[in-house]
């Protein structure tokens, strides 16, 4: 896999400077933001609809921006080495950078629609990144799945944003927060909530939408480390945090978030233990972390407790802690995969000697993950516990979080202890340490986790509390410290660690039990997804086979039936049917003509002889010409007669070359009745509408003008001709264009045929699709 000899392209190293520079820039904002001064910049994009490219750096945005750029720096460095010798590294790097920038856009947008734009950009770029190994059908499937699942959520979210914007009168988050509109009391509140949560939950892979994330591990490890641990999946968490002051505080919000988050956390922590692929284990622990974040954003604090919004603090702290330990672990997993050739913990072990730096980094991260003092993970866990204890759902929430955490401790041991410290399996290639870019990032982040644990006050005051303030909507007063004394949270920490260690010790028995329990689930998200997609495919095929059957007769039947039915319905509904008031005085000639025409029309229908049909058609045309003549329309009558003559000539010329009607397979009786009914309805409605029109007063304004003007201004006594060549000359121009085009097209059609050999003809009968691809044509 690794092509050690391949050069690392210069750009993939240089590009690291971009996130690094951005990190420094964002870091320089920390003091002012922590001091309560948010940065804001805005330019109009579509101001008419209140869509502005507005960016807002407050505590929450800054925390995420620092994580994105900070982790991003190391990821890009790592990727430059990891992707050495792979094809399409340039595209890969570009997508990764594009993803990073989109993610920054998400966390810094002040405008909901702009946020959505960046949100979808992360969807697109992650689609491209997950499908990087596009030769592999699993990667393609995973890419499609993530696009569909997160895309579906995003569309719901867009609807939610529009509702939200309409309710609040603005898409600007700042204005929403500042405004006093009572969104919770809005009639559409529940709809907004559901729609927005659909977006956040799919993106952050909450149960039951979680399944796409483990599948997305088909992506190269740098992508997994970045997108599926530190950043993209956090977008949903970020959104919930961002909207907490706007939409939160209600029972619906609290119950939904806590419920889904807690379930996701416990469920995925359990699944993590049953996996053997390093990346899969880490993916499920990521799901657990996301569940925890969601849960604590929504967790309602019981009244009477102090005014500290502990849930918000806990969620923010955990986001921070998780990013610091998950990215290193993923990167180390990738390094192991790179050097040992496998990620399956069953065939890994004893890497400690070969990969010391990676071991160190992994150990630091795993300790933080397990929440061992004095790492940041410990501090985070303490806050989680005290928040859970003080919540409305005290016991249940605490039980859930302790259970999940205990399993996570076990998972941390699994991913570090087994590959590095365990027995080295007999047969494997000699592992070796990766080059420095592959471990330096993990190490720095691991040390940072340690540092943040040792000096929690620093991290909290500069970063986490401003962020928590943005989540809670008010500034929390919170004293962070490593050591709180022997209290209930600490006791729970001890329980967690021991339970985790115990589970690790008994892991074979435990995973067996968990595995069989999980296998008994009747339906998984993944299988439901497949069922749905196959269902859509099947429905589409059946649906299209019905509507687009390829039989012209049926198309025409539907068109005419639609016409007849819709016009008839409207006639009846609108009560337009009107019979003529008086019995018309119709002359004998008119009667005769009418009967002749009608009879000829019927002959045309019934005739089994082509010649008879042609003659009858000619009679119809001539009869109509006579009607025109009878009413003084001599020009029309003349033209009609001439046209009729030519029609008969041409029809006779063509029709006699075609097979007769007898070869037609007769319709069944039922089909003929159906056709007859549709025809009669169309005919009847036409008659009814025409009668209604003629019953209305007639307007002769235009004709009178033409008659008055034709001679003095048009210099012609034949009004009809003056209309044709002067008053409405443009119509005539179009008309003769039609005539000329029809003639040219017909001529070409007759004289132009694809030249084909007998072989090509045979082939095209078998594959009509392939026709016309590269065939010479000639004008004969």
């Amino acid at each position: 896999m690794e092509k050690a000899s391949a050069r690392v392209p210069l750009y993939s190293r240089l590009v690291v400077a971009l996130p690094a520079g951005l990190f420094v820039w964002f870091a320089s904002m920390v003091p002012s933001v922590a001091g309560g001064e948010a940065q804001f910049a805005s330019i109009g994009w579509l101001p008419q609809l209140g869509v502005d490219l507005a960016f807002h750096v407050d505590g929450l945005g800054l925390l995420f921006a620092l994580l994105i750029t900070g982790v991003g720096t190391f990821i890009l460095l790592y990727a430059s080495e990891y992707m050495r010798g792979h094809p399409q590294v340039g595209r890969f790097t570009a997508f990764l950078v594009a993803f990073m920038l989109s993610m920054l856009g998400v966390v810094l947008s002040d405008n909901l629609i702009v946020l959505f734009v960046f949100w979808e950009l992360t969807t697109l770029t992650s689609f491209l990144l997950i499908g990087y190994s596009h030769g592999d059908s699993a990667a393609r499937r995973a890419a499609l799945q993530s696009l569909i699942v997160t895309g579906a959520g995003a569309l719901a979210m867009l609807a939610g944003f529009v509702l939200l914007g309409n309710a609040a009168g603005s898409y600007s988050l700042r204005e929403m927060l500042a405004g006093d509109s009572d969104l919770a009391g809005h009639p559409a509140y529940v709809a907004m909530l559901v729609l927005v949560l659909a977006g956040a939950f799919t993106k952050s892979a909450q149960f039951p939408f979680h399944f796409w994330l483990p599948n997305a591990m088909a992506a190269p490890t740098p992508v997994s480390a970045y997108l599926h641990s530190a950043t993209m999946v956090k977008a949903g968490v970020f959104l919930l945090a961002r909207l907490n002051p706007v939409l939160g505080g209600t029972d619906e919000w609290g119950m939904t978030l806590t419920g889904f988050g807690a379930f996701t956390a416990v469920y995925s922590a359990a699944v993590a233990l049953t996996r053997t692929d390093l990346k899969q284990i880490l993916a499920y622990t990521t799901l657990m972390a996301l569940g925890v974040c969601v849960m604590f954003i929504g967790l309602p604090q019981s009244r009477g407790a102090d005014e500290v919004p502990l849930g918000a603090v806990a969620a923010v702290a955990f986001v921070f802690v998780h990013a610091l330990y998950k990215a290193p672990l993923f990167m180390v997993a990738g390094t192991i995969d790179h050097s040992a050739g496998t990620r399956d913990i069953r065939s890994l072990g004893g890497l400690r000697k070969a990969m010391p730096w990676s071991l160190l980094a992994a150990a630091l991260a795993a300790l933080s993950m397990s929440g061992v003092p004095p790492f940041a993970g410990f501090v985070g866990k303490e806050i989680l516990y005290s928040s859970a204890i003080g919540s409305t759902y005290g016991v249940a929430a605490t039980a859930a979080i302790v259970t999940a955490n205990a399993m996570i401790v076990s998972a941390a041991l699994l991913v570090v202890a087994v590959p590095f410290l365990g027995q080295s399996p007999a047969t494997r290639p000699t592992p070796h340490e990766g080059r420095w870019p592959m471990w330096i990032g993990s190490l720095v982040l691991g040390v940072a986790a340690l540092g943040a644990g040792l000096f929690p006050r620093l991290a909290f005051e500069w970063l986490l509390l401003p962020a928590a303030g943005a989540v809670a909507g008010r500034q929390p007063h919170f004293e962070a410290s490593l050591w709180h004394g022997f209290n209930l949270p600490f006791a729970l920490s001890v329980v967690t660690l021991s339970a985790g260690a115990l589970a690790y010790w008994q892991r074979n028995r435990l995973t067996g039990a968990l595995g069989s329990a999980l296998a008994r689930l009747p339906v998984t998200g993944d299988s439901a997804y497949d069922w749905l997609m196959n269902g859509i495919a099947r429905v589409s095929v059946v649906h299209t086979r019905i509507v687009q059957c390829g039989i012209q007769r049926r198309y025409l039947l539907i068109v005419f039936a639609t016409l007849g039915a819709s016009v008839l319905t409207t006639l009846v509904v609108k009560g337009v049917i009107a019979w003529p008031a008086r019995i018309p005085d119709v002359s004998f000639v008119e009667w005769l003509l009418a009967i002749l025409i009608a009879a000829s029309a019927l002959v045309t229908i019934r005739s089994h002889s082509r010649l008879m049909a042609i003659v009858a058609l000619g009679v119809v045309g001539t009869g109509i010409a006579l009607i025109f003549l009878l009413h003084g329309a001599s020009d029309v009558a003349m033209t009609q007669l001439m046209v009729e003559t030519l029609v008969v000539v041409i029809v006779a010329m063509v029709l006699l070359k075609l097979p007769g009607f007898r070869r037609e397979v007769r319709q069944t009786g039922l089909g003929r009745w159906r056709d007859a009914i549709v025809s009669c309805v169309v005919g009847l409605t036409t008659t009814l509408v025409l009668l209604a029109v003629t019953a209305e007063p007639s307007h002769r304004r235009l004709t009178e003008y033409f008659q008055k003007t034709a001679v003095p201004e048009g210099f012609g006594a034949n009004v009809v001709n003056v209309i044709l060549v002067d008053f409405r000359g443009l119509d005539t121009l179009g008309e003769i264009s039609v005539l000329a085009l029809a003639a040219v097209s017909a001529y070409t059609l007759i004289n132009w045929r694809p030249r084909r050999s007998a072989r090509a003809a045979a082939r095209s009968k078998a594959f009509p699709e392939a026709e016309g691809a590269a065939k010479p044509e000639t004008l004969s």
Partner: protein, 127 residues
């Protein structure tokens, strides 16, 4: 007069629709010709021939129906004639190439020739 003309338009319309619903392409083309006749007569009737008859009764002038309607019909006649002729040629060429005038048997463009309709895997796995 308008009653009888309207009825006639209805008959022509119904006949043409019935012809078009046939599976024989030639019948379809004949139906097309009837359809344009129906449309022309409809414009003629709707455009106000009735008033011409009453005016003839009143002042004895020569029958003069709405001249704008006449011009429209003239235009429509020529257009429908062009298209009708083209349709005839098309039917002829189709017969020559596909060797049938039965529209039910014309399957060169539709449906999609595919061994496994709809079974292509969306992710592009070779099936």
């Amino acid at each position: 007069m308008e009653l009888i003309n309207a009825a006639l338009v209805g008959v022509l319309m119904a006949s043409s629709v019935y012809l078009m619903l046939s599976r024989n392409l030639v019948r379809f083309v004949l139906g097309l010709a009837l359809l344009s006749h129906a449309a022309n007569l409809l414009i003629f009737t709707g455009g106000g021939i009735t008033s011409s008859i009453t005016s003839r009764a009143a002042d004895g002038a020569t029958a003069e129906s709405d001249s704008l309607a006449q011009a429209l019909i003239l235009t429509a006649i020529v257009i429908s004639f062009s298209l009708f002729t083209f349709a005839l040629v098309l039917a002829f060429r189709t017969y020559e190439t596909l060797e049938t005038v039965d529209t039910d048997a014309m399957r060169a463009a539709e449906p999609e020739p595919s061994g496994h309709p709809g079974r292509t895997d969306p992710s592009g796995r070779p099936s």
